[in-house]
């Protein structure tokens, strides 16, 4: 079995870098079990930028922590398949897992202000990842760190190496985090809302930087965000999450031009555009609230907020293929994918 998969890996470069099937993450809470991630499927190709979009609490961060093996100890993880470049992440030992972490899959976190250890210099924290995974000299690690600091746009890099995190602004710290993630040239970087805590101008710079580096180093990136504006700027493919499920996956283009799930359509309508939004008019919002994920969710999780919902929606909708590599978890997916319907909706705006 393992033999076969390794053969597959070498002979078929087309196999995805990461494939996730029916991933579930359950967390025990005071009132029962929180089903944070409820059977999601997606894959990441080598060198592509996949955006995982959804509002807070939809299970994006839990998914990323599950992939990294950094879930809280009490969390339970299940999946039919969790395969990273031929390695089964479900059965791998903690030791092998930690050999992957930082070396072949790295992570960038949301809060650059607290993600760096205040007690050590940046140089120290940059070099330790490389020296943990590769037999390199102090000098070589230092040079690599210096090169990457310059590459992520930090001036006076030599001096910064000796500085402590509190001496840097949030934007600079996030650049350091990006450099740190690149230290071992990983195949996959998981960026969990890396720009959310930053100023808008800094956000744009960091997005550009990530996109450039991703293309330069050929690194695959899972970019987690709640901001569709960000998605439009950087994504190759998008997976939209709602209430612990992936409800729509498509290429970025297809998603923005032919969204086929009512939630995705709602999200797109919520983006205020200067030309369409009249002064004084109300900003669009999706009415209602996300269902509680404690205990079982029956049927379509979005149906209580959906304009299209009818009795069919009490049964769980299957993932439907609306176009090539474009899937939607909605009973009405084909109707919604029909451009005529979309146009009609835009008119009502």
């Amino acid at each position: 079995m393992s033999n076969q998969s390794s053969v597959e890996r070498s002979t078929a470069p087309a196999s995805p870098l990461l494939s996730v099937k029916q991933l579930r993450v359950d967390l025990p809470v005071a009132k029962g079990t929180l089903h944070a991630v409820r059977g999601i499927d997606f894959h990441v190709e080598r060198g592509e930028m996949l955006c995982l979009v959804g509002e807070s609490g939809c299970g994006k961060s839990m998914t990323s922590l599950a992939l990294m093996g950094l879930l809280p100890r009490k969390a339970q993880i299940n999946a039919d398949c969790l395969n990273f470049d031929g390695v089964d992440l479900l059965t791998v030992s903690e030791h092998e897992r930690s050999n992957l972490r930082g070396a072949r899959m790295a992570m960038i976190f949301q809060e650059p202000m607290t993600a760096l250890n205040p007690a050590y210099t940046l140089g120290n924290q940059l070099c330790e990842a490389l020296r943990r995974h590769q037999l390199v000299s102090r000098k070589a690690a230092h040079d690599r760190a210096l090169y990457l600091l310059k590459r992520v746009g930090i001036s006076a890099a030599e001096e910064r190496m000796r500085q402590y995190p509190h001496q840097l602004s949030g934007g600079l710290r996030q650049r350091v985090m990006i450099a740190m993630a690149l230290m071992c040239e990983p195949d996959l970087i998981i960026a969990d809302e890396p720009t959310t805590a930053l100023d808008v101008t800094i956000q744009a710079q960091i997005l550009h930087l990530l996109r450039d580096l991703q293309q330069e180093f050929g690194t695959a990136v899972i970019f987690i965000t709640h901001d569709l504006g960000v998605v439009a700027r950087i994504a190759d493919r998008v997976a939209v999450m709602y209430a612990g499920e992936v409800i729509e996956t498509a290429s970025a283009q297809a998603l923005f031009h032919a969204p086929s799930h009512p939630y995705t359509q709602g999200l797109l309508r919520c983006i205020p555009t200067p030309s369409k939004t009249l002064p004084g008019s109300r900003l669009q919002a999706i009415p209602g609230v996300v269902p509680s994920l404690v205990d079982k969710v029956e049927g379509c999780a979005f149906c209580n907020r959906c304009d299209h919902a009818d009795e069919r929606c009490y049964s769980t909708p299957p993932l439907q293929t609306v176009a090539d590599r474009h899937l939607s978890r909605c009973h009405f997916a084909h109707q919604l994918a029909n451009p005529a319907t979309i146009n009609a909706q835009e008119v009502t705006l």
Partner: protein, 305 residues
Amino acid sequence: MWAFVFKRTLIALSVALTISVLCFSLLQLSGDLALSIGGPEATAEQVEQIRTDYGLDRPVIQQFTSWLWGAVQLDFGRSYYYQSDVMDLVVERLPVTMTLGVMSLAIALFVSIPLGVVAALKRGSWIDRMAMAIAVTGQAMPNFWFGLTLIILFAVKLQWFPAAGSDSWQGFVLPAIALGYYATPAMMRLTRSGMLEVLEADYIRTARAKGLRTGTVIFKHALRNAVIPVVALAAVELGFMLGGSVVIETVFSLRGLGQLAWNAISRNDYPVVQAIVLIIALFYIVLTLLADILNAVLDPRLRAR
């Protein structure tokens, strides 16, 4: 960093001056010194004689400045009781108290930090509960009673260590355990809560995301940050051990500063009392200063302030 040290030193000096004023005025407030030196049988003339001999008839400000000027030059006058230089008495006793204090602190640190770390890592386990039990017992038990128990067990029954005296290092073992155990609970609890807090920090998740070994994550990334408040507490505890070892020194008949202070108080030997109070206070100040500097070494964020 040097600006930080300089600023802290200035603050320490002003605290020291304030304490010297307080320490002098407290004795002035404790009644007519000449009367209590003379004792109940002294006649009015004898009391007057004492007053002029000891310079107690001078204005208070003058008495204070001459005492402070002496103190700066390490001259605290002569003991009323021993009829020798106060400084000689102190210098003779100081090594005993210092040895006891440092040994006690070493024992306390050696026990409390590992125990606190393990209790935090194995939260709710039997070892955590055992550490909790040790902490509660240590805080509740009077240390003279614990000292006596140690004497009965290890000096009388097992005869491993001498019951009293400060002639050899063995004599310090039991009192250091008794005094160190008293300081252990607070330091252990602080290490435990510090570790629990730090282990939840984002930078620990970052360290794990880098694939670092568990040992590196715990000892390099977590403990370094968790131990910062413990350093400050340890300095205070050492100050307490130097000043508050009166009881333990009495129980184990150690000829230390605590014993001298106790004798001086019961004999109205004011120059000695004043000197000891000031010296202990100065120790506190120096220790706090050292703790501040050590904290700044451990936590670079403090250096900027």
